[in-house]
Structure formats: C-alpha cells, structure tokens
Amino acid sequence: MTKEVIIEKINNFLIDEFEVESDDISPDADLKETLDLDSLDFVDLVVSVEANFGVKLVGEDFVNVKVLQDFYDLIENKLS
C-alpha cells in the first residue's frame, strides 16, 4: 500500500467516522487538540485501523504519536 493510499484512507475515516472537519486535517494537526480526540477515541482509532488496514495497534504504539503525520508514519511502519 502506498503512502498516499494510507493517508487517504486515514483521512477518510477521520472525516466519515470521527466527524473531523476536513479543513482541520493537515500533517501537523495535533491529534488530541486540533482533532479533539480523547482517550476513548483512541480505542476507536484502533478499531478503525484494524478494519481498514488489518493491523492491531496497542496503547504503546501511540506514545510518540502527537500529530497526524506521526499517525500516518505509524501505520506505514506497521504495514512495511
């Protein structure tokens, strides 16, 4: 899966399922603050990632994830 496809899929489920405004989505957007994702949302992120990429994330995976670019990179690394 190319990086572009990964980004597109992530952006799509953030907009469709998490109701994030498309204008708020940018690589430097802070997941917690800009995208307003709380601890419960991170559980649902795990569900969406599993459904979209077949990859199961755990809590430790998010330790260094601050902005959306970190999240894109995390998924890319998991898939590589």
Binding site: E17, F18, E19, D38, L40, D41, V43, D44, V46, V47, E50, K56
Partner: protein, 397 residues
C-alpha cells in the same frame, strides 16, 4: 412529557391513536427466522440522530437510549425546559430500564469473532450497562442532580415516577426527568417468548392483544420510550411551566410469591396505599389504566384486585396495552402519559379487542369503545416479574 411509541412517535400522534383505538402491533418477520414462537410486536422507527448528537454521543447510546432521547427532547419542549434552565438548576434523572440485550450481544459477538476486547470499540461498555439510558441522557443534557436507573421489570417506568415523586416531596430535588425505555429487537424478547406467553394471533396482529377478554391468548411485546418531567410546584410556578397534573399518590408492594405468576393481594395493597397517600377515597378515582397485559392469570388477578379496591360501580377501566402491546420497562411511564392525554382531552381510550369479558372482568366498568368523559383523577397500575407492584395516582391541576 414526551413519547416515542408504536402508536405514535410524539404526543399528538399518540393522542389520535388513543382516541381512535388504533393498534400498533405488527408481525416482525425477522423473529420468525430467529426462532420465535410468536413474531408479534409493537414497532417504532429507528431515530436518525446523526447531525443531532455527536459521534461520541451516538457510539455510546443503545437502542433504548435513542428512544429515550427522542422522548426526552419532546418532554423538554413540552415542559418549556431549555439548556439554560438545566445549566442553572440541579436537574436529575431517574429512568426505568431493565435490559440492554442487543448492545451486550453485539459487543460479545464481536469479541468472539475478533478474539480481542479492544475491537468492540469505546462505546460498547456504555451501551451495555443497564444504566445506559441514565448515563447517556445525563451526560448529553449535562444534568447535575440525582442520577440512577430503576430496574423493576415491567414496573420500572412507574417506580421511576414514584421515586422521583418521593424525592421532590421530601425537598431533596426540584426537577427530575423520569420515564421508561424498552428496546425492540429479536434478541431482547427471545427468552420471554420461550415461556410461551405471547399471543399467537398472527392472522390479525391488531386484535392479538385483548386484555380482560375471555379469549385472550397472551401478551404482545412492544417498546419505545416515555419521558415525564416531575417538578416541585414552587419550581414550576417560578419558571412559568405548563403544569399538566399533580402526582398525589404512589403505592408499592411485593407479592412475596411466584417469580412470574402475579397475585391479587399485592396489587390491591399497592392501589390502596396510593389512595391512602393521596388523601382521597376510592370513589374519587375517575379512571384506572390497568396493567392488564392480555395474559390469562395476570388480567384475572388484576381484575380481582381492582374490584377489591373499588367495589361495585367502580371507575372506568381500560388497558391501553390492547393497542400498544406490553411496553415492559417503558410501560409504567408511557401509560401515565396515555392517561394524561386522556385527562387533558376529556376521553377514556378504549380497551380494544374486548368482546367477551371473563368472569372477573365482568365486575369492572371496562371501556371497550372510546368514551368522552371528564377525568380529574386517574390511577395507573404497573406490575412486574418478581411480584413488584406500583400504583400511581395523578390529579388534574
């Protein structure tokens, strides 16, 4: 008050159905495939809450909570309560609910499939607990008062109003959202259907529920939600609220006998207790909304109890379950609303499908056709598994 019922999804629709004696019972084909003995049920449409509630709110709310939300927003509108009032006052919630079967089964099925608990998502826990309705509505509306669920089988909704009445009467709260919610899906009623107590009249769904009739062959399950706002008189007057009626009596008891077979003594005691608390005589009651579900033993014992309390020439009696089916955890609250609508519009809704009253029912003043009649005081009965009984008396203001 607000209502989301199989005979109407708002107060105006429900009033029309009650007056016309319209049944809300249908055949649910999904239940036949699922293995039900009887596919009859009351049915409501699924509320579309996208754009009304946020994603975070929607993923934590189950079917019964969605119905309760719909009923509650109508109740707030009807009561002229807005978010500013809620933010400035300690509004509580005591709501009746006794199952979240669909939510529990769907989340456990997901764990079985995925072998991973995280993959059920964050909302599953909040949808699956029995207090789901109160935990969701209290956070959606930012309530700061009393907050818990009343689980008392088919008397849950009635006891929630009774408990709210007690808290307000004792001065502990000024405004409480109460009511009852009941999920409608093949999962929730399957074990109840297994007891063989549901009507099998699939040829004529609208005639299946026939409380007090000699040829009744069982109840019809149903659901939805009903919300009643209880408020202290002072609070209601202070904010200029439309006061619809006054709760003047709440009687309760437990049969102390069989888990499912009701008796006459327990209900009789609850009704007498409510009448005594109300400071009225039995003759002051103009209408009794019977619990009668259309089961052979239950209806007969309630008829005996009503006769014991009111005697010859008693008040008008009808069971609105003849139209709605048995709304179970919701019924105690919805039937207060049905009776309130009758009181306000001056009629007694019919006990439809009553052709041949049985020996006990013959002694009652049963209303089988819509009766235009002034109601000043009504009593609403609700009984449940385990022998829990609740009787509420409400007076016109």
């Amino acid at each position: 008050m607000g209502i989301y019922s199989c005979i109407g999804e708002n107060l105006a629709e429900v009033k029309e159905s009650l007056y016309k004696g319209k049944s809300g019972i249908v055949v649910d084909k999904e239940r036949i495939d699922f293995g039900y003995r009887s596919p009859l049920t009351g049915m409501v449409s699924k509320p579309n809450l996208k754009g009304i509630l946020t994603r975070k709110q929607r993923i934590s709310i189950g079917e019964e909570g969605e119905y309760a939300y719909m009923a509650t927003i109508e109740a707030f509108k009807n009561a002229k309560i807005d978010q500013d009032f809620i933010d400035a006052n300690q509004v509580g919630i005591l709501y009746g609910n006794d199952s979240t079967t669909k939510s529990v089964i769907e989340s456990v099925d997901k764990v079985r499939e995925k072998k991973d608990t995280t993959l059920v998502g964050s909302g599953a826990i909040f949808k699956g607990m029995n207090s789901s309705v109160t935990m969701n509505l209290s956070t959606i509306f930012k309530l700061t008062g009393v907050n818990f669920t009343i689980s008392a089988a088919c008397a849950s909704g009635s006891h929630s109003i009774g408990m709210a009445y007690q808290l307000i009467k004792s001065g502990l709260q000024d405004c409480i959202i109460c009511g009852g919610a009941q999920e409608i899906n093949p999962y929730v009623m399957s074990s109840f259907d297994g007891l063989g107590v549901f009507s099998m009249n699939t040829e004529n769904p609208g005639q299946a529920s026939k409380p007090f009739d000699a040829n009744r062959d069982g109840l019809v399950p149903s659901g939805g939600a009903a919300t009643v706002i209880l408020e202290s008189y002072d609070s209601a007057i202070k904010r200029g609220a439309p006061i619809l009626g006054e709760v003047i009596g709440y009687g309760f008891s437990s049969n102390g006998e069989h888990i499912s077979t009701p008796n006459a003594a327990g209900p009789s005691y609850a009704m007498k207790m409510a009448i005594k608390q109300a400071g009225i005589s039995a003759g002051d009651v103009d209408y009794v909304n019977a619990h009668a579900t259309s089961t052979p033993v239950g209806d007969a014992n309630e008829a005996k109890a009503i006769f014991d309390v009111f005697g010859e020439h008693g008040p008008a009696v009808s069971s609105t379950k003849s139209m709605t089916g048995h709304e179970c955890w919701m019924a105690g609250a919805s039937e207060v609303i049905y009776s309130m609508l009758m009181m306000h519009h001056g009629f007694v809704a019919p006990n439809i499908n009553l052709e041949t009253p049985d020996e006990d029912a013959k002694k009652l003043n049963l209303v089988s056709k819509t009766l235009d009649k002034k109601i000043n005081v009504f009593l609403s009965n609700s009984f449940g598994f385990g022998g829990t009984n609740s009787a509420l008396i409400i007076k016109k203001i």
